[in-house]
C-alpha cells in the first residue's frame, strides 16, 4: 500500500483532479476512430469496480436499515433503529474516542517524523541507501506478525520493554493488560508503521524538487530552517496534503494491530472503530449495526478524501 501510494503522490502532484482534462490526456493520433474496442477493454475492470467498490459502499448504506441474518435468509426492515443503537452503544462511544486518540497520536508525530527523516536521508553521506531500505521495511511488514512481536516486546514477564525499565530501576508495567497503557502500546506500533509510510511519501516528494532550486537557494544563502519553511514546505504542499489524507484514512481504519494485540481490551480501553464494527457484526451477529458503522466510516473518510483530493497545482510547469 505504501509504495503504491508513494507513486500516486508523485503523480498526484502533477496530474489534475479526478475527471479533469489536460492536453496530454487525449492522444493526437492512434486508435481514435469510434469503435467498441476501448469499451471492451474496460469492461472487466469497470464491472469489478462497480461490483466490489461501489457495490459494497452502497450495500453498507442499504444494509444499515435492515436486520440481517448472517446465515442468509430474508432481511427485515428496521428503519433508523440500527443508527439509534449504534449512537447509544457505550462500546461505540469508547471506540470513537479511542479512534480519535489513536489518530491524533499517530498522525501528527508520524508526519513530522516522516518529514524530518526524509530530509535527514538527503543529508546523509555514503550508506544512506542502507538507512533508506531499513526505514522502508516497516511498510512491507506483515502487521499481524509485527503485532505478535510487539506483544512479546511488551509482555509483562520477560518482555524487552520491562527489561529496559528494570535496568533504570523502574517497576515492570503490564502494558497490554492495563486499561491505562493498552492503547498507548498499540499506538507505538501504529506510529512505527505510519512513520515509515510518511517518510517514503516525503522522500518521493523531495525528489520532485529540481536541483536548480537547491542551487538557487545556496547562492542566495538561504539555509536550514528558513529554507525548509520558505522554499521546501511550500513546494511539498501537494505531498503534505496527500500524506495527511492517507494518514487519516489509515489511522481511522486501524484494525489488525488492535485485533491481534489486545482484542480491543481490557474493558474496551483499546477498542477502535473497525474492531468495534467487527465485534458488533461477527461476535454479536448484528450485521445491520455493523453496516451502519461501516457506512458512517465510509462517509466520513470519503469526505476527508474529497476535501484533500489532489488538485491541479499552480507550481506544476
Amino acid at each position: 500500500m505504501s509504495l503504491l501510494t508513494r507513486s500516486a503522490a508523485k503523480v498526484a502532484a502533477a496530474t489534475p483532479a479526478p475527471g479533469g482534462r489536460t492536453g496530454k490526456q487525449a492522444p493526437t493520433s492512434g486508435y481514435s476512430r469510434p469503435s467498441l474496442t476501448p469499451y471492451l477493454l474496460l469492461l472487466p475492470a469497470l464491472a469489478a469496480l462497480l461490483l466490489f467498490v461501489y457495490g459494497p459502499a452502497l450495500l453498507s448504506l442499504i444494509g444499515s436499515f435492515f436486520v440481517i441474518p448472517l446465515s442468509g435468509g430474508s432481511w427485515k426492515y428496521a428503519g433508523i433503529n440500527n443508527y439509534l443503537k449504534v449512537f447509544a452503544d457505550p462500546l461505540i462511544h469508547q471506540a470513537a474516542w479511542n479512534t480519535l486518540v489513536y489518530s491524533l497520536a499517530t498522525i501528527i508525530p508520524s508526519i513530522v517524523l516522516g518529514l524530518l527523516l526524509a530530509l535527514l536521508m538527503e543529508k546523509m553521506g555514503r550508506g544512506s541507501w542502507l538507512a533508506k531500505t531499513a526505514l522502508i521495511l516497516p511498510m512491507t511488514a506483515n502487521m499481524v506478525a509485527m503485532a505478535v512481536v510487539f506483544k512479546w516486546i511488551f509482555a509483562f514477564q520477560g518482555g524487552f520493554a520491562n527489561q529496559l525499565l528494570g535496568i533504570v530501576g523502574l517497576a515492570p508495567v503490564n502494558w497490554l493488560d492495563e486499561a491505562d497503557t493498552s492503547l498507548f502500546t498499540v499506538i507505538l506500533l501504529g506510529l512505527w508503521r505510519a512513520t515509515s509510510l510518511c517518510m517514503l511519501l516525503f522522500m518521493a516528494g523531495l525528489t520532485t524538487i529540481p536541483s536548480s532550486i537547491h542551487e538557487a537557494t545556496a547562492v542566495e544563502g538561504i539555509r536550514g530552517f528558513t529554507k525548509l519553511r520558505t522554499v521546501i514546505l511550500p513546494m511539498l504542499r501537494p505531498t503534505v496534503v496527500f500524506v495527511t489524507v492517507l494518514s487519516i484514512t489509515g489511522a481511522v481504519q486501524v484494525f489488525e494491530i488492535v485485533n491481534v494485540m489486545t482484542k480491543g481490551g481490557p474493558l474496551g480501553s483499546s477498542e477502535t472503530a473497525m474492531t468495534a464494527a467487527h465485534k458488533v457484526g461477527f461476535e454479536y451477529f448484528r450485521i445491520g449495526e455493523a453496516s451502519a458503522i461501516s457506512f458512517i466510516l465510509i462517509a466520513l473518510l470519503l469526505a476527508v478524501g474529497i476535501i484533500g483530493r489532489p488538485r491541479r497545482t499552480k507550481e506544476t510547469p
Partner: protein
C-alpha cells in the same frame, strides 16, 4: 566541503543510523526470539545478543500453526489476485491512455474516485454481499473482491501515457491491430510499471488480514496472517519463540521479495513519475 558541512554530514549519518536501528529492531527481535531456547524465557527475558540457539522453534511453529497449508493458500490467493488484476488493469489502462472515445473522462473519474473509498471500511459490506452470493468460506471468495485494482489502472495508465504516439502510429502502419499493439508494443514498454504494481499487489494481498478473517472459516483455506493470528490466540500463550518463528516465516517472503527487487521497484516507480 567546509568543516561545518562535514560535521553536519556526520551528525545526519549518526541520526540516520539511529532511526534505521529503531525501524529494524522489531524485525531483529522477532528473529532473535525465534532462535532462542523456549525454557525460562518469561522469567529471565532475553539478552540483546543471542548466546544459545534453538532452531526447533521453526519446525514447532510450522506444524502447530499449520503453516505449510497456509503458505500454499497464501501463494495461491496472492498469485491468483495478481494474475486477475494484471488481466483487468492492463487493458483498462490501455483504453484510458491510448484511445479517444465518448465517456472516457467519466470512466477515468469513476476509476479515480475508487481511490477515495476507504478499503478496510468496505470489507464488512463486501462480506455481506459475498454471503448473499453464497461464496463465504471459499477460495473464490478470498480472491473475487480483488479482481481489479483502481490504483493499478491508474499507475499503468500513467506509464502508458508516456508511450510515444510515433510508436503507436508505426504499429498501426505496420498493420498491428489494437490487441497486437498492446501485447507486443505497449506492454513491453510499460514493463517497469507493471513490475512495480505487481510487487505492490503481492505486498498488499499477502499481508491482508481482515478479509481472510471474515471469509475463511475452514482451516483448509486459511492464509498465513490468519493462521498466525489463530496460532497466537490458541493457548500458545507463552511459547514466544514458536510465535516469533511463525511470525518470521510469514514475514520473510515479502521482505525477501522487497530486498531483491527494490531497485526494479524504485525504477518502476520513477517511470510512473515521469509519465505524470
Amino acid at each position: 566541503m567546509t568543516k561545518l558541512n562535514k560535521v553536519h554530514t556526520a551528525l545526519a549519518t549518526t541520526l540516520g543510523i539511529l532511526a534505521a536501528a529503531l525501524a529494524l529492531f522489531p524485525f531483529y527481535w522477532m528473529v532473535r526470539t525465534a532462535v532462542a531456547p523456549a525454557e525460562g524465557l518469561t522469567t529471565t527475558g532475553l539478552s540483546l545478543i543471542p548466546v544459545e540457539f534453538d532452531f526447533s522453534n521453526f519446525t514447532r511453529a510450522w506444524d502447530k500453526a499449520n503453516l505449510g497449508q497456509a503458505m500454499l493458500n497464501g501463494i495461491a490467493v496472492t498469485l491468483g489476485i495478481l494474475v486477475l488484476q494484471l488481466l483487468t488493469c492492463i487493458p483498462a489502462a490501455y483504453a484510458l491512455s491510448k484511445f479517444r472515445f465518448r465517456g472516457a473522462g467519466l470512466i477515468l473519474g469513476l476509476v479515480l474516485a475508487c481511490l477515495l473509498i476507504p478499503h478496510q471500511a468496505t470489507m464488512i459490506p463486501t462480506f455481506v454481499g459475498l454471503n448473499l452470493l453464497g461464496l463465504g468460506d471459499t477460495r473464490l471468495g478470498l480472491v473475487l473482491p480483488f479482481v481489479t485494482s483502481a490504483i493499478g489502472i491508474f499507475m499503468l495508465r500513467q506509464q502508458m501515457m508516456a508511450v510515444p504516439e510515433a510508436i503507436m502510429e508505426a504499429a498501426e502502419t505496420d498493420g498491428l491491430g489494437p490487441l497486437r499493439t498492446l501485447v507486443s508494443v505497449v506492454v513491453p514498454i510499460s514493463a517497469p510499471s507493471i513490475a512495480a504494481f505487481s510487487m505492490l499487489s503481492i505486498f498488499t494481498h499477502w499481508n491482508d488480514y481482515l478479509w481472510p478473517l471474515l471469509v475463511a472459516r475452514s482451516p483448509a483455506i486459511m492464509t498465513p496472517p490468519l493462521s498466525l493470528a489463530i496460532f497466537q490466540n490458541a493457548d500458545t500463550g507463552f511459547d514466544y519463540p514458536a510465535l516469533a518463528a511463525a511470525a518470521a516465516i510469514v514475514t520473510a517472503p515479502v521482505v525477501i521479495l522487497f530486498l531483491l527487487a527494490q531497485r526494479h521497484f524504485v525504477r518502476g516507480m520513477a517511470g510512473t513519475e515521469v509519465a505524470g
